[in-house]
Symmetry: C2
Subunit: 91 residues, 2 copies
């Protein structure tokens, strides 16, 4: 679990080049390189831009680490439901 | 990154025995077995109980997946700052 959290911190910091937040371009690259198997439409710049605007709660045009973590929470929730329905269908 | 998110979902679902939320006991066991290297006071039942109450935003006495993810976000933020200060001190 700890290694998993470390991985997310490292992924964010590598993508943001050590800054506290991701620019639009950096966010797009992260989504396309890291989350293309989980999220749909990651090839669409428009879809990724809309996702970024949805995350950018303080409207500073960037994605902070906490805003990024809410995306991770959303994805985790999606996977969690997938796993629960898979487990239910195998019983 | 995807594997890291899957790991968190699996850790939560194993601890909650497939339920949507963790009981107080299940949360305590998860914190003590998975997060003892990152969080302090995990051996103190009182400290873990207070942490749980802080996370339990809907006050149902349990920790939902999204409430759990806010703990992960908090820990990630802590590690992120640690890494930034380590990187700054080595330059």
């Amino acid at each position: 679990m700890e290694a998993a959290i470390q991985t997310m911190v490292k992924t964010f910091q590598t993508s943001s080049k050590g800054k506290d937040s991701l620019s639009g371009k950096e966010f797009q690259k992260l989504v396309q390189t890291q989350l293309s198997n989980i999220l749909s439409d990651t090839e669409s710049a428009k879809a990724v831009k809309e996702m970024k605007e949805g995350l950018d709660t303080n409207k500073d045009g960037k994605v902070s680490f906490q805003e990024f973590m809410s995306l991770v929470g959303y994805i985790g929730g999606m996977l969690s439901q997938q796993r629960s329905s898979e487990t239910a269908s195998t019983h």
